[in-house]
Amino acid sequence: MNLKSLKEQIIEKTIFLCGVTSVLFVVLIFIFLAKEGFALFKTVHPADFLTGRRWYPISDPPQFGILPLILGSLYVTFGATLISVPIGVASAVYISEIASSRVREVLKSGIELLAAIPSVVLGFIGITTLVPFMRNALNLPTGLTAFSGSLMLAFMAMPTIVSIAEDAITAVPKKYKEAALALGATHWQAIWRVVLRAASSGIVAAIMLGIGRVIGETMAVMMVTGNASRMPTSLFLPVRTLTATVAAEMGETVQGSAHYHALFAIGIVLFVITFIINLIADWAVHRKSK
C-alpha cells in the first residue's frame, strides 16, 4: 500500500470518528438521563408525576407532581410565541422583500447581535426594568410573572425566527413574484399570496426552532417569572418552568435521592418536548421535497 492512500485512509477514519462522536454523545446523554430519571418511577407512578398538582420535593412526605411546572413552561412559551412569531415573520418579510440593500445589512447584523446577548444579561435587564414596569403599569402585586418571562423569551426567539424565515423567503425564486406582479398583483398581494405561501415550510420550521429555543431557555426565565410552583391561572401571575426548577434545585439535592431522580425525570420530559418540536420542524422542511 502506498503512502498516499494510507494518508487518505487515516483522514477518512478521523473524519468518520468526529462525525460519530456527536451522535454518540447524544446517545450517552439520553442513556444517562434515562437511567437517573426512570429510577424515580420505582417510588412514584409516572401518571402521578406528570399530572400531580403539587411540587413539594422537600416536604415530608415529598410530592413530585410536575403539572404546574409543565403548565408554567407552556404559559411562558405560548406567550412568547404569540409575541415573537408575528413580529419575527413580519420583520423577515420586511428584510427580504421590502428593505433596500443598505437597510437590510444593518437590520441583519442588528438581529445577529440580538442573538449574541447572553441570556443572563437579558434576564438582568428584565429584572431591573421590565419587572418594575409591569408591576406599576398593570398594577400587579408583583412584576415577576409569566408574561414578563414571555416578553424576555420573545426577544430571545426573535433572532432564530427572523434569520431562518428570512432565508426561506429569500430562497423563493424571483420568477414567482414577477409572475404575480405581471398579473397585476400589488407588491403586498404578491408577497402575501405567493412568496409567503411558497416559503411556508421554511417559515414553519423557523417558528418551531424559535419555540424550541424558548422551551429550553433557563436563565432569563428563572430571573423574571417569580418561580412559584403553583398551578398557573393567568399570564399575569408568577409561574415556574421546568427548566428553572432543574436549575434552581439541582445544587441542593442529595445525590441519589428521590428529589435528585425527579429532576432528571423533568429532564426527560424536556427532552421529549424539544424532540417533538424538532420533529415537527423537520417534517415541515421536508414536506415540500416529497
Binding site: 414567482y176 414577477e178 404575480a180 406582479l181 398579473l183 397585476g184 400589488t186 405567493v194 405561501r197
Partner: protein, 251 residues
Amino acid sequence: MKTAVETQDLNLFYGDFQALKNINLRVKENSITALIGPSGCGKSTLLRTFNRMNDLIEGVRIEGRIVIEGENILAGGTDLVTLRKKVGMVFQRPNPFPLSIEENILFAPKIHKTAAKADHERIVEESLKSVLLWDNLKDKLGKNALNLTLEQQQRLCIARLLPVKPEILLMDEPCSALDPIATERIEELMRVLKEHYTILIVTHNMQQAARVSDDTGFMLLGELIEFASTGSIFTNPSDQRTNDYITGRFG
C-alpha cells in the same frame, strides 16, 4: 387595422448604458408581432417596457412615449395594476405558482375580485379549454402545478392570464425551454389566441418568427433596424444588416 401599441422615440437606460435607442414602432391589433435579433439587442427589454416590468430593476430610466389605447403608459400617474391587467405577460421559463392548477388560474380573479365564487369553476374550465389543457387536467385540478410537464406549465401560464381579459399578450421567448413538438403546439395555440388578442413575441428563433408572425421587427444593439411585414422582412429586407442576420451571417 387599428393600432394596439405605439412607441414614440423610446429610449431606455440602465444607469449609463443605453439599452434602447429611439424606438418607433406600431403594433397592429389582433396580429402577432415578432421581435428578433441577437442576444443582448434589447428585444426583451423592449417587451418588458410594455407592461412596465422594467420598473423592478434599480437604476432604469425611460424616455419617450408608449401609447396604448390613446394613453401614454409611461406617464407618471399610470396605474400599474390596470396596465398589467390589460397587458399580460408570458415568461421565458414557465413560472406557474407553486400552488394547485386551480389556484394558479384563480389567482388573478381573486386578487382583482372580478369573479364571484360561483363562477370560479366555469373560469377554470374556460381558461384551460382555451389553451387545450382541459381534457388532460380536468381530474387533477387540485394537483401542484409544478408537477406538470414544461409544455403544460407554459400553457397554464397562458391560461392564467386569460381570466384577467387582457388585450395584449407579451411573450418573452415562450418556447425556449420546450422541445420542438411542444413548440409547434404552443405556436398553434398562438394562432388561435390571435383571434382575440394582440400578441407580441420575442424570439431568437427566426424560423418561429417566420412561421407565426404577421409583422417582424429586427433589433440590433438597442436599435430597431427594420420593422415590416414578416413576408417582406424574410424575403426582401431593405437593410443590409437585416439581410446578414436572417441569412445567418452573424447572430
